[in-house]
């Protein structure tokens, strides 16, 4: 690989960041700093490396540190603006008596980034609320000036989904929809997981944390680890960027001996997230051997995913970009037959407002014609999914794809 030395150097720096007692190897001669810069940007690590260079002068050329600083400065300015939005949202929800748990990036900033929103840029705030408080929480966020995401029919999200996004477009923000608040009343978006993760128990096990100057709460470390594995798998298709495994590793080291690995394994099995937990923690073990204790790694490797769990995981991950398949998997895994039927009907035949905003104006204003466009897209999604399924079947039977291994001799 052309950038092998640069990749190895980045990993060595991350290892040093995680284990400060492990010496940082000096940068190999001839290292392509432009390449390092590009890789750091791709891995989402520029700002973390800025902090590293700031704390340990002389790690790399000053010109490189200046590049990192410029990125950090922009992120910091932006992060401060976002922090003000986060604070306002938390204050308003707290004043309305709505209990919230901060999820994802904003929950990690206090622990892993010293509270600096410039080091871990988060353009949205993800909040878990109790299902009974979701409607009120939506009202509070909208009263702050946020606009709700487009829905197929009014109330579609509340009926069939467990999250809804709200966007902010306010001066002096430089562009529309600059910041979003996503309200979740369940952890994962795919309905298969809805009944498997007890929201009330998440609140009971939650931990206090200060976010953007506000005292609030976040998931317990054990819950977060399992959730993060599921999120990386189902939402990010196991993306290869290093900042996610770095954060998980840093969180594990931060928790230290207090981390209840038995609870992690239990949650993985109960939440039907065995495959994501095995794969994500397995990758962590490859990057930083020993980060998951050997006995724990064996225990997690021994977990067996159920057949439906494997099937849902396969379809959601392999067809991540396929909206048709996602809608179908959502419909087929919703609890309750009637609810499934109504969901599929409402998803297939959305309201006129949704159609117009999604597909543009209809010829002659005849909005039902837009259904033809929608069904055309659905047919394309179905064809793509069928192609993938045939390819996967071929690979299972023959060990390679139908077009691989031919031609070049």
């Amino acid at each position: 690989m052309a950038d092998q030395a640069e990749q190895a150097f980045i990993l060595a720096c991350l290892t040093h960041r995680l284990y400060p007692d492990r010496p940082l190897p000096s940068a190999p001669e001839g290292l392509d700093w432009e390449q390092v810069h590009g890789l750091l940007a791709g891995h989402g690590l520029m700002r973390l490396f800025y902090a590293l260079g700031r704390e340990e002068a002389g790690l790399w050329p000053q010109s490189f540190q200046r590049l990192l600083r410029a990125d950090y400065v922009a992120a910091r300015l932006w992060g401060d603006l976002c922090a003000a939005e986060v604070q306002a949202a938390l204050v308003a929800l707290h004043a309305a008596g709505i209990a919230t748990l901060v999820l994802k990036g904003w929950a990690l900033i206090p622990t892993l980034y010293g509270g600096d929103p410039g080091l871990r840029l988060c353009g949205d705030l993800d909040l878990l609320v109790q299902p009974v408080g979701a409607e009120r929480a939506e009202q509070v966020i909208q009263q702050l000036g946020y606009r709700a995401a487009l829905e197929q029919w009014p109330g579609f999200g509340r009926r069939y989904r467990n999250s809804r996004a709200f966007f902010r477009a306010r001066q002096p923000w430089p562009f529309a929809d600059s910041f979003a608040v996503a309200l979740h009343w369940g952890l994962l978006d795919t309905p298969y997981y809805y009944g498997k993760i007890d929201c009330g128990a998440l609140f009971q096990r939650s931990e206090p944390v200060y976010v953007a100057g506000m005292e609030t709460r976040r998931l317990s470390t054990e819950d977060y680890l399992v959730y993060a594995c599921g999120h990386v798998a189902l939402h990010h298709d196991y993306d290869e960027s290093l900042h996610r495994p770095y954060e998980l590793a840093a969180l594990i080291l931060w928790a230290g001996a207090a981390l209840d690995w038995a609870a992690v394994a239990d949650h993985a099995a109960q939440w039907r997230l065995v495959v994501p937990v095995q794969r994500v923690l397995g990758r962590l073990g490859e990057l930083w051997p020993g980060i998951v204790p050997e006995g724990v790694a064996g225990q997690i490797a021994a977990l067996r995913a159920t057949r439906p769990e494997r099937a849902v995981h396969r379809w959601v991950v392999s067809e991540r970009q396929n909206h048709g398949v996602r809608a179908l998997v959502a419909g087929l895994t919703l609890p309750g037959l009637r609810r499934r039927g109504r969901y599929l009907l409402e998803a297939a035949f959305p309201g006129p407002d949704y159609l117009r905003r999604r597909y543009g104006a209809a010829p002659g204003g005849a909005w039902p014609l837009l259904y033809l466009r929608r069904f055309g897209l659905a047919a394309r999604y179905a064809a793509a999914a069928a192609g993938h399924a045939i390819g996967a079947g071929w690979r299972r039977r023959h060990g390679r794809g139908p077009n691989q291994g031919r031609g070049d001799v």
Binding site: R54, R69, Y72, V73, A74, R76, L77, D80, L81, G118, Q171, P172, W173, P174
Partner: protein, 91 residues
Amino acid sequence: MRPMNVSVPAEVISTQVEGEAVLLNLLTGQYYSLDEVGTRIWVLLAQHGQVEPVVQALMEEYDVAEDELRRDLLELADKLAAQGLLWVDEA
């Protein structure tokens, strides 16, 4: 000297990095950074909204002649205003 009111426009955001103020004008997309003294002046201007209390505060913090301080302060305020980073209003 006539009293001068100052204020930071809504489209200007700032933060401090390694002890230096960094200012961004969202309308132009231009970044500016101030040195240590400039940062202190910026913080005081934003805090007081008037030039006179800033002069008094800086006189206590720095060993400098008042005339020289006023000249440097107004020069900085003019530069900031020229870049749209500060509104200066002679009351």
